[in-house]
Subunit: 474 residues, 2 copies
């Protein structure tokens, strides 16, 4: 008698865990079986030199970097940023040369300046009295008789296509623990304004109103209130749906209610005009938040040997980032705002690339980092609040900590991600997402939409390489 050949027994059920391409998991699921998909990708997009670098920076050099990062994050998370002054740029900015325009983003030659920023520069040139008209501004901007300087060199941050001359009022925001001071212009407001790439008479008048009315009135107010804690307001803002980048309305309104007694006490000459400006500007708080983020980042940058990103800025042509402890700017081309909603008749083909210094907000736990708390941001995403949560979680995957001050009720009261680690960015090939407005590429019509921009990976890879090389500038 021969033993029967044992029958091949197929398992009753299979449990599949699939790494990488979801195609295989999908096929299993199509046949009615469960499959767990793990979103794994080859690190650093498979670039061998970057993988080698990461092995160093996450290996033998990790302890030193992590220690530096801990201090950087402590500063990013715990800085107190106090609005202490508002005065013309030429008064507050040290060594600002005459006949200079400050602009957002990295350094750029006039010939490379994008259309909306050119228009903004022309409007500022007329407002400064250097030209009679925007047409007359062009040649003196082109021939170098008006100097163009990136605002970051003056510890100044400017949203969207901002350009300001020496007479424009700027806020001064101090971080006393770090002895740092940062600046931002007064927000120009929505609509027909130069920071949105408009150069109309109304846009120029607004610059004059800021200089002649809003600046002096704000100075009156600050004389009466004393220093104002900006992040304490922002922390309340993220509880009421502001990401404090794309949406700052809740925080703006809160600040205005707080300042009501000082506004009511302003001199007759200017009070009404200032009130009308402020009433029509739900974006007022944006520039204050940016200056607070900048004074914070300046403190964090005093720490050496860190892999944390402390600056992201764009001029509509190029995109620059910086790491704590370094003065080097790593530059790539500015990307389009890829996930966006447009006003009727506009679309990606008519839009300027990502622009402005406001991406500094994403580095202190605001903007894209706070998306999960913002129905307004969700409104720009196809999947609504679920997509907004995904955006914050993506940010968490490249950050080393959670904010102790910016808590999101709709994200289980977790703190927003803070401390973008260039190692994680490069390893996961996932850069920060920025909530932002979109400007027309060429027509001068101004804002045409809003959405989410993804920072370009190239400058993060360059920063990682520099960190790996221990470059001379750090």
């Amino acid at each position: 008698m021969t033993e029967p050949t044992p029958a091949i027994v197929l398992p009753d059920e299979v449990s599949v865990v699939n790494l990488g391409l979801s195609l295989f998991a999908d096929a299993v699921r199509d046949q009615g079986a469960p499959a767990q998909q793990v979103d794994w990708r080859i690190p650093a997009d498979g670039q061998a030199d970057l993988v080698d670098l990461l092995e160093q920076l996450d290996g033998p050099r990790a302890a030193a970097i992590d220690e530096a990062n801990a201090e950087v994050v402590r500063r990013l998370d715990q800085s107190v940023a106090l609005l202490v002054d508002v005065a013309p740029a030429q008064t507050l900015l040290r060594d600002l040369p005459e006949r200079t325009l400050l602009h957002c983003g990295p350094e750029i030659a006039w010939s490379d300046v994008c259309d909306p920023l050119r228009r903004s520069m022309r409007a500022a040139t007329v407002a400064e009295g250097w030209a009679e008209s925007v047409e007359e501004a062009d040649p003196i901007l082109a021939d170098g008789s008006i100097r163009l300087e990136p605002s970051y060199r003056y510890d100044t941050v400017m949203p969207m296509a901002s350009a300001i001359g020496p007479s424009a009022p700027v806020f001064a925001v101090d971080n006393r623990d770090g002895g740092t001071r940062a600046f931002a212009p007064v927000n120009q407001g929505p609509g027909e304004t130069a920071w949105f790439g408009r150069e109309t008479p109304a846009a120029i008048s607004r610059l004059e109103l800021l200089r002649d009315v809003a600046g002096p009135m704000l100075r009156h107010i600050l004389d009466s209130t004393g220093p104002i804690d900006i992040f304490s307001l922002a922390a309340q803002g993220v509880q009421i749906g502001d990401d404090v980048h794309m949406r700052t309305q809740g925080t703006t309104n809160l600040l205005i209610r707080n300042l009501l007694p000082q506004i009511a006490a302003l001199p007759d000459d200017g009070r009404g005009e200032f009130a009308a400006y402020l009433s029509g500007n739900h974006l007022f708080f944006l520039n204050l938040a940016m200056a607070a983020a900048k004074t914070t980042a300046l403190w964090a940058e005093q720490v050496e040997g860190s892999s944390i990103v402390t600056m992201m800025c764009r001029n509509g042509t190029t995109y620059g980032i910086r790491l704590a402890g370094s003065t080097e700017l790593f530059v790539a081309a500015s990307p389009p705002v890829a996930e966006a909603m447009y006003y009727p008749d506009y679309g990606p083909e008519t839009s300027a690339p990502d622009i402005g210094d406001s991406a500094i907000l994403e580095l202190v736990g605001l903007g894209g980092a706070a998306a999960a708390g913002s129905p307004a941001v969700a409104g720009f995403l196809p999947g609504g609040m679920a997509d907004a949560v995904t955006m914050t979680e993506r940010m968490a995957s490249i950050c080393v900590a959670e904010s102790t001050r910016f808590k999101l009720p709709t994200w289980n009261d977790r703190g927003t991600p803070v401390g973008v680690d260039v190692r994680r960015v490069v390893e996961l090939d996932a850069t920060p997402k920025i909530t932002t407005g979109i400007l027309h590429a060429s027509s001068g019509v101004g804002q045409v939409g809003a959405g989410v921009a993804t920072a370009p990976i190239e400058c993060f890879r360059a920063a990682l390489r520099s960190l790996g090389a221990g470059s001379s500038s750090r």
Copy 2:
């Protein structure tokens, strides 16, 4: 050969659906098997007369009631409520007798008035100049020489322990489609104020400030703005975390920013005092929302034969509700605020029962109905946002529609439940939940917490019985 007895084959798995007591489902789950629990309870708590009534009202009489309800809900959902005036109660309220105090909730004799409302009445008596001190107010309140009238008789709604005299300024809010007008006093603000059951000199001064400064200043503002659409503001408020009952801060701030030009243009005499009052009052919008809800409810009440609740009011002793088409008030004892958070050193034992006319907000899709959108409400619930969603969903189970104007981003952009159907309330034994403040029961210290109150079932059962009887008053 005999056929073998077939073996008893036990099933490989069981699927359990359990109705009612979850005990059985829990036992199955404890043994590792799945069980679906259906939260079924015997209708109307098993009271036979109510079950019989429901069979009528959901059976042969359902079509007529549903038709009436559809019109009631259309009105509750689509009314436009315009703030058109602010002036002393004696100017705006028709046939208001002299030496009368209006108070929140159902009619009540002085001897039954709860402690915080007594203090509020004393403060109003002094502010009216009818007594020199709160001590002197007591005898004239007790002997009837000052008349007490429930505010609802004058189409007026008043939050918490409000009591006002004829000189107090009230808002007039019109619903032009219905030809209705409702009133509410100007909000007294947080802290040491009479509507929180305080009778201190500061509380009395605040009543005088409202009369002498805030009322006239608001009149100036309205003269300049023209009518203000209250629900359009509230609709923006629910998008930024206001339930527009317990929390009205976002909507208040928005309104203040809108009114900034008018505030700046106020006369010197009063502008500063008014600005200080408004700046310190995040609750300002509450009374406006209440008056808007009331003018809406008055329109809805013109429909006969409906089972929709159009009034819920409490005086801290009794709780009254009314159905559309009826003038009858169904009264029960006012309950404690059962789910609550207290200030340090206070608790349920030191708290007054649920009080104020503000529960009208829950009937138009605000307050508890909007809890799922409000991190501030969630902060008072042990389970946070999940509990807030449960609260809104409970409200949905007793409502016949969803608001087309109050949409909650955190509830998949669904409209808040609107149209509380007394049939569903009685059948499910589930009354509306109200977000509210809590006052001290006896010490005169004012607010001691906030939380969620559950309306008493007895008045809803009485309303159902009246509806079933087709009572003479309808």
